[in-house]
Symmetry: C2
Subunit: 214 residues, 2 copies
Amino acid sequence: MAEQSKDRKGNNEGEQQTTKSRRRGDVLENALLSAAWEELRETGYSRLTMEAVASRAKTNKNAVYRRWPSKAELIVAALKKHTPTPSLEAPDTGNLREDVLTLLKRIIKPMQMIGAETIHGLMVEYHGDELHSKMTLPPRSEDILAIAMKNILLNAERRGEVKLEELPDRVITLPVDLIRFEVLTTHTLLTDEAVVEIVDIIFLPLVQKLNKQG
Amino acid sequence: MAEQSKDRKGNNEGEQQTTKSRRRGDVLENALLSAAWEELRETGYSRLTMEAVASRAKTNKNAVYRRWPSKAELIVAALKKHTPTPSLEAPDTGNLREDVLTLLKRIIKPMQMIGAETIHGLMVEYHGDELHSKMTLPPRSEDILAIAMKNILLNAERRGEVKLEELPDRVITLPVDLIRFEVLTTHTLLTDEAVVEIVDIIFLPLVQKLNKQG
DNA sequence: TAAGATACAGTACGTACCGTACCTTAATTA
DNA sequence: TAATTAAGGTACGGTACGTACTGTATCTTA
């Protein structure tokens, strides 16, 4: 984002803006992203307007369009800045169940913060664009969450808990896919209990079954 | 939809409209729904406008707004009219695998016809409204596809293929949920092979496993 | 069959938001 | 200090929304 901010003093230290001076560069950019984030939380994606974001940031649309060409890209930038990026390192607690639960619980938080409406809205706006592939899931083999799951399973295999070659990609991504589905289609919050259910009554039994029969 | 058409001659017989007379009631309504359907296919949900629908139906927005208060409700009505409603009767081929495959293949077609962009668009527009629950999935126990799956499994239980009480709702809806997820997140078409995969490497192994351990 | 009600066709309007263009001026850089 | 950059401010043309108001074809009913 913000290709313009290449060579600029990152003067972010002036938190309290007493002088009525003109904000520039990163300061203004952060103000815009914060405004976008707040607008998103208060009015939701579909009702959020570029004008409202600009005016909340006490500037005008130019400052927004100079940086992001569309609402979708603005919001993606705001999400990157204002939602935690969970670590996708394999937890390695020495136990497959715990490892998977740990990963899933980690990734739930940012998903909840973003929310279904925003995800749906982004999917719609990207449709038809060349940007479409940025929102649509990549092939399972390239999906970063699939890779994280695979790393966990590699550790489990090292411990003799699973035989990885018996597990099709579809099974490996199953817990993650179910959580994504749940976030997209349920209006109630995704609880830790639901995550435990997915692992205990679907993923682990399936992994055990495939290990035996393989 | 169309609360106004309570007591009216359903004069749908005049297919070929030679007289330049004024269309009314169901004739006009069908013309509007067809126009909406065609616009949807040609321009997609997000770019479809009420004005374009009206003008394609050779009338004006009033005729549209008189019947459907929003684009979302218009489109839902158009989908009801122009996509097949698959039978949700349990197939009962005498074999669990075939029954499930038959059901899933049946429900795929209308999902494909509707398409991900429209579903996402509808989800966005319904958000915040009281209509939200119409688009969001109901609790598993009330989901019509879950009930269809349950009927299939009841037949299988009668044949001794499964023990239904061992199967949590989450498992029963699993194939259907995965298909819904696939339609929502994949841009490529959902193939019959993917359906077979879901059944053969996820659902059936899981059902077998839960039967044994239960 | 005439009177009355209905709802379609046509038009126009105010509003909202889009994305862009232009100008002035503050801040940064050379 | 001069030149350059990017901010703030404003205004514009364009699209689509949703509503209101006209006149009239059609249906209903008495």
